[in-house]
Subunit: 280 residues, 2 copies
Amino acid sequence: MAVIIDGTAIAEKVRNEVRSGISDLVRERGEAARPSMALILVGNNMVSHNLVRMKARDCEQVGIIPRIIELPEETHEDALLSFIETLNRDDSVNAILCQLPVPQQISTKKLLAAIDTSKDVDGFTARIDADKTDIAACTPAGIMRMLREYDIDVKGKHCVVVGRSNIVGKPMSIQLLLHDATVTVCHSKTQNLSSFTKQADILIVAVGHARLITADMVKEGAVVIDVGMNYPEGKPVGDVDFAEVSKRASYISPVPGGVGPMTRAYLLKNCLELAKQYRR
Amino acid sequence: MAVIIDGTAIAEKVRNEVRSGISDLVRERGEAARPSMALILVGNNMVSHNLVRMKARDCEQVGIIPRIIELPEETHEDALLSFIETLNRDDSVNAILCQLPVPQQISTKKLLAAIDTSKDVDGFTARIDADKTDIAACTPAGIMRMLREYDIDVKGKHCVVVGRSNIVGKPMSIQLLLHDATVTVCHSKTQNLSSFTKQADILIVAVGHARLITADMVKEGAVVIDVGMNYPEGKPVGDVDFAEVSKRASYISPVPGGVGPMTRAYLLKNCLELAKQYRR
């Protein structure tokens, strides 16, 4: 049986680090240096509403000041972009997050490009030539931390990432390369997916397809990280068939209680890092 | 025997497209819209000197106005960055290139970050979430074009990239993912390199190691693209053992006359694309 990676426990450790990092920062530079995150919510999507409230509570728990900004469903793209421009210049906010998805009259690409890189707490504007010192997207950053916590070194390992999204798959592959892994990225157009997943020393799955990865697709002793969060029968289920794959893997992250809490915790960690670098 | 991919001929075709694109642009928007490229050269590196002269000649041949700016070896980082800032605001220049490497007192990362993305003709500031409409680094862009010219579709193919540089390996992997390939990136820390290269339907090598890839490392019928340019005995030699690998491959790019001319041509193509988008 695989060791079950305890994302909830590591996330708590990360939050404690952030809390104490914020105390240090405020002690050194005064209350004005306390991190503050703008959380922009456009429209009436209930899932987005709940996510933004949850993120705001997470902020409060570690000493980050959340500022929720709710904009109507029919907000024009131009209005949103100029509003972000105002936040870019606003010294009372050092981190900006715009909850996705946004209504269809707004280009996600333009929206993300409008957020000043120095305030991009989601890390979505990262460049291809980013190095280890740059802010990474929260999910890849959280996964790298999970691996470190269990002394799983990716150097020279074959890491297979299933999924090529801008939020997980692509930045994950960049992080793994920066840490000397050999990296394969698979996706919906990959032919014979299992021929790749079976090669993985470390398999990271982020596709949003309940139990796509079955035991026969995993090498004996592999490390398996499940980013998926699906609700096929109302309860959260990952992209990995946990019951069966956990019998073959050496380490496996569960759903819930795996990557999810790490992503949440790294949003706070990113906010602190941006605040440290921020010069008013 | 493999078909030899004629980079010189495709590059000529690209230059003709650029030439006619510039004519159209100038006809529509007037002489002020003619593309103009600033080529910054810091220090006394002879190879860099020659490269900058060559790029300036390439510009002239297609109707781009080159502006070479030579700065002394001892130029301070701050001075260079503020000079770039001036060029960013200078409407008479729509493309900025700073020849690498720069003297060691200057951070390459800061330098590249200083170039306005809308004038970044090398495409080095590309973001992880770039899409097909964004400017790509010249070498990956040139390679994608070579493949298209020979009707080699990367969709669903396993593409193995050897090398993870910010200039070739990483942006190449992003381009291949955008075109639906399954992508593996190998590098100096990869264990058992040949186990990966042998799987490649399309193998792209960019490591700067003469004849690293031998025939036994290549699958029968693979497409092999050689980005290397080494001078072990004074004459240019690629990263691939051309004489032997060309017997197994279905297509192969030679050195010289393969990727090199494509990289040069795509610098001009990128300059035209930036000029089209440029709004004074």
